[in-house]
Amino acid sequence: MSDTDRELRVSKIRNGTVIDHLAAGQALNVLALLGIDGSGGEGVSIGMNVPSDKLAKKDIVKVEDRELSQSEVDVLSVIAPEATINIIREYDVVDKKRIDRPDAVAGVLSCPNRNCITNAEEPVATRFAVLSDGLRCDYCGEIVREDEVAEHLDVT
């Protein structure tokens, strides 16, 4: 089977965003992080554990009729720093977004420290500083390693 055949396991989209080279197992986390659950009517294709030259196995997500903004892409870097993001119009790649690690992410994760003030009934959103290999709660200082981030996603 050729590489082309493999790529075609997830069908091409006409307009929208392709998020490729996700680490295997991250596809659903990426959708959760972006707040995409299909309820908006957009077409969503997901490939999981797809063979890949770069990663051995990868996940891939295609979202139709939605172009990710740079800030959405930056938030993705927290769980998928290696991902590539292509914006598609009329079946062609019109923009390749680079992933920049933001300095901070707000309101995306809950703090794993149950004793953190952000987990109490207070009018405050979570905010994490982005470290080289994880995140750190701005309030209690708790550190979340990169491989633990997905389990603390606080998005619907």
Partner: protein
Amino acid sequence: MRQDHLISATQLSRADIEAVLDRAAEIDADPGAWEGRRRGEILGLCFFEPSTRTRMSFDTAMKRLGGQTIDMGSVESSSVKKGETLADTMRVVEGYADALVLRHPLEGSAKMATEFVDVPLVNAGDGAGQHPTQTLLDLYTMRENAGLDDVTVGIMGDLKYGRTVHSLASALTNFDVRQHFVSPESLQLPRSVRYDLHESGAQVREHTELGEVLPDLDVLYVTRIQRERFPDENEYLKVAGEYQIDTDDLEAAKDSLTVMHPLPRVDEIAPEVDETTHAKYFEQAHNGVPVRMALLDMLLENAQTDTTGGDE
């Protein structure tokens, strides 16, 4: 010191720390000269957790500066009991006082509170997080007795949940201090403190037995291991017994060793140690007053400069 609030020891530079300690020393030398410094100003004491030393020493410190204090009382008797958020409580109390002191059982509470108030706010302990004013008086005591450069400090006990330990360990990275951490494995330093120590270039030397390091120490900082940290009583008794010191243990130490403890102690330091020249923990507790006087005076001074648009 150019800080609006004091939330964490990690925000303090060596110069910040020395400025507070120097002023505390001036106050100590002539307390009467500072009596009128804060006349007409009010400090709000907001303690959402029990406290004896910290609350009373802040109260005394403000009064010795000529100011007054208001106290929200116990949580049971306040509107917190009715379900008011911390954010709301602090916004209200801000209107009554020129500066606030907050102790709260949750980590990050003081940091959050600063987002809702404009007056200077001092963290007097946030859960297992930080207790920076304890650290300032610890450093003051250490400087008086052992110095803060080229010294070896052992910190023993509950390093995981002990907020005084977290603040002290990070503040000591500003000085030429070799730090040794002595604790049972289950109560070693948390990841966040290790991260800060690592980032500051400090080496984390950990031990499970005090004997391994005691002869090298200039300062031994003992903290209480709390019963509630252990799933069962036997486990606690087994572990706690290994982190208690008496005069027999101290025979292996330098004659000049300074023994400190943030207090309250239960049985970590045998009462017989009190009579030795090593014991500095009561002196340490007394130092809470001049150090908190210095800190409050500086924060209130900064706040005044800010509102009058004075020198930056």
